[in-house]
């Protein structure tokens, strides 16, 4: 039994008028600064956009997108650098996501099993998370200096792992390595906090039942703890993958993509293209491709893991 259209319309209108004072400002700002920019990105990507007032933005079709694939194998082409950066993002996902998850989980389980002093460890390990990125990268930069007296070189040469000091930030793979270490270090404290909350949500009778069945600590971890953290892990996984696909500030501050763009990542590449070279159209096109990739990964992961739950 639906009411007549006019009645429903006037009811809806009344409801909107009631909520509007609370909704209007936030919604307006959201539309102007989030929704509209995402749509405008598409327009910019299809033109050779210029921010100069009065300049004409000619429609160039998909040529900005085509540029991402043109001369891929030629060293020094735009496409070459884009895909190097993209490769580094994928490597960052493969290294930093498992790194943060495993480290965060181990520390969370250890802290969870403590009787006293839980909060002290949590607070101390969280300091890196809340630390200013610029300050944090300054510290990383400092301890990875090429001098033999820098913290990392000194420790590694003293133990005997290294024969001579390494210029960490000047080489492709050591530079990438420092970026990964930096990301894991700054991120795992957050993972730990989320996991400790997740651990509290596992009912203790499940552990008691496992003890009755004669399970040892390792068996309990794999058969009770891990399944109990499934939802938390899914949430973390999506967030961390998103984060690793968007790493930017540590690259911008530590290596600037050097040597020769081989430690660059897509966000840094886009930022430089846009704000150093004012190549807005091409940068926006790269951004859209990256956005679609990240979105697809998140959605795919959600589907895939939810699907598994019903089995």
């Amino acid at each position: 039994m639906k009411k007549p259209l006019s009645e429903r319309f006037s009811k809806g209108l009344k409801q909107w008028l009631a909520v509007l004072p609370f909704l209007a400002v936030g919604m307006t700002l959201f539309i102007v600064f989030v929704l509209y920019p995402q749509i405008k990105n598409i327009y910019i990507a299809l033109t050779n956009y210029s921010i100069m007032p009065g300049s004409e933005n000619t429609f160039v079709g998909i040529s900005n997108f085509a540029k991402m694939f043109k001369d891929i194998s030629t060293k020094g082409s735009d496409a070459y650098f884009f895909w190097i950066a993209f490769r580094n993002n994928i490597l960052a996902v493969l290294v930093t996501v498992p790194g943060q998850l495993v480290l965060g989980l181990i520390v969370a389980v250890l802290i969870h099993n403590l009787k006293t002093g839980k909060n002290v460890y949590k607070v101390l390990l969280y300091i890196a998370v809340i630390c200013d990125w610029v300050v944090f990268c300054n510290i990383i930069d400092y301890i990875f200096q090429p001098d033999e007296g820098s913290l990392v070189n000194y420790c590694l040469t003293t133990i005997g792992i290294l024969k001579e000091p390494v210029a960490w930030l000047k080489n492709t793979w050591t530079g990438n390595f420092v970026i990964w270490i930096c990301s894991i270090w700054k991120g795992y404290g957050w993972v730990m906090i989320i996991y400790t909350a997740g651990l509290l949500g596992i009912p203790s009778d499940q552990y008691e039942a496992a003890t009755m069945d004669g399970a040892n600590a390792v068996q309990k971890f794999f058969h009770v703890t891990l399944p109990g953290l499934r939802g938390t892990t899914l949430y973390l996984l999506i967030n961390l993958i998103n984060g690793a696909m968007n790493i930017f500030i540590q690259v911008f501050l530590l290596t600037k993509g050097d040597p020769l763009g081989t430690t660059d990542v897509v966000m840094d590449y886009i930022y430089r293209r846009a704000f150093n070279y004012f190549d807005f159209g091409y940068a926006a096109a790269c951004g859209i491709v990256m956005g679609i990739v990240v979105f697809a990964i998140s959605m795919g992961l959600k589907r895939f893991l939810r699907y598994g739950e019903n089995l």
């Binding site: 809806g12 909107w16 009631a18 909520v19 609370f22 909704l23 400002v25 936030g26 919604m27 700002l29 959201f30 102007v32 600064f33 989030v34 929704l35 509209y36 920019p37 995402q38 405008k40 990105n41 956009y49 099993n113 403590l114 909060n119 460890y121 607070v123 101390l124 390990l125 969280y126 890196a128 809340i130 200013d132 990125w133 610029v134 300050v135 300054n138 510290i139 400092y142 301890i143 007296g149 820098s150 913290l151 000194y154 420790c155 989320i194 909350a197 939802g231 949430y235 998103n242 968007n246 500030i249 501050l253 966000m267 930022y271 846009a274 807005f280 926006a284 990256m290 956005g291 990240v294």
Partner: protein
């Protein structure tokens, strides 16, 4: 049996102390370096503890030179106003979605969630053109409005869960006494959601305080710089004066550490975690 438990407790403590020490060692090194005269080439051994008496000159210099104080108060100003805008907008938005019925409510809410899946930084280019079109480049007003817009999706989602957990009976009795919507929000919902609001507010303040790219990209004049931007530029200029750079860095993170220590209970117990587990 009891003895075994004590041993395992000690083992866990040992592992955690070692791990915490490794994680905090670089911070210790930074603080110690800030109390020393380190310029140019690094000494042959890493600095873990400062020499006594402490060399305080770095702090005096960092605080007084290079317009540091201007940047400090710029940062304070831009973050405090940013936080107020953030709170006003997020709370009213979340209130709309938790206590009102209106056509299109859930589709709009889902649209907010959808934008969270697309990396926010990717919109920077068009955000620049929007701010440029509104003549808001190089103004704090533009930064605040931008932050107001970008905080909507995440915070509406976060606070909505908390507001919906507040029992409706309380408000109903207030309405019987003739209270308006605004009054119930102010006197019932907000006080009862204080822990959640405090946690989110500290997080937002931290984000604004240490923001680098928005200020770097959307403002131009030197007198609008904030600490993060100044520190980043400073690093490029005086890359070899570690003592001075770290003295400035320590001043930059002290307010955040203090805030965090004050609110740590809320952080560690619910707050950040609650909203996320539900998601």
């Amino acid at each position: 049996m009891k003895k075994k438990k004590i041993i395992s407790q000690i083992c866990i403590h040992v592992i955690l102390v070692a791990l915490t020490a490794i994680c905090l060692l670089p911070f210790l090194s930074m603080i110690s370096t800030s109390f020393m005269k380190v310029k140019g080439v690094l000494p042959n051994e890493p600095i873990l503890f400062p020499n006594f008496p402490l060399y305080l000159e770095n702090y005096v210099k960092a605080w007084t030179a290079n317009h540091f104080q201007t940047y400090f108060f710029n940062t304070l100003y831009v973050s405090v106003v940013g936080l107020i805008v953030n709170l006003l907008i997020s709370i009213t938005m979340a209130y709309s979605f938790s206590r009102f019925q209106f056509p299109g409510k859930e589709p709009i809410f889902n649209l907010l969630l959808l934008t969270m899946m697309i990396p926010a930084q990717l919109a920077m280019i068009s955000q620049y053109t929007v701010l440029n079109g509104l003549k808001l480049i190089d103004t704090y007003k533009g930064i605040w409005l931008l932050w107001g817009g970008t905080c909507v999706a995440g915070n509406t989602f976060f606070y909505r869960g908390f507001f919906e957990a507040v029992p409706k009976e309380l408000e109903e009795s207030m309405y019987l006494d003739g209270a308006t919507r605004f009054q119930t929000l102010l006197h019932c919902i907000i006080p009862l959601s204080k822990p959640a609001i405090a946690t989110q507010a500290v997080l937002a303040f931290n984000g604004y305080w240490s923001n680098l790219f928005d200020i770097l990209t959307f403002t131009k004049s030197t007198n609008k710089r904030t600490l993060s931007v100044a520190l980043q530029l400073f690093r490029g200029q005086y890359t070899t004066n570690y003592g001075l750079m770290f003295a400035a860095s320590v001043i930059v993170i002290i307010p955040i550490i203090v805030l965090f220590v004050i609110f740590q209970k809320q952080f560690m117990q619910q707050g950040i975690t609650d909203g996320s587990i539900k998601g």
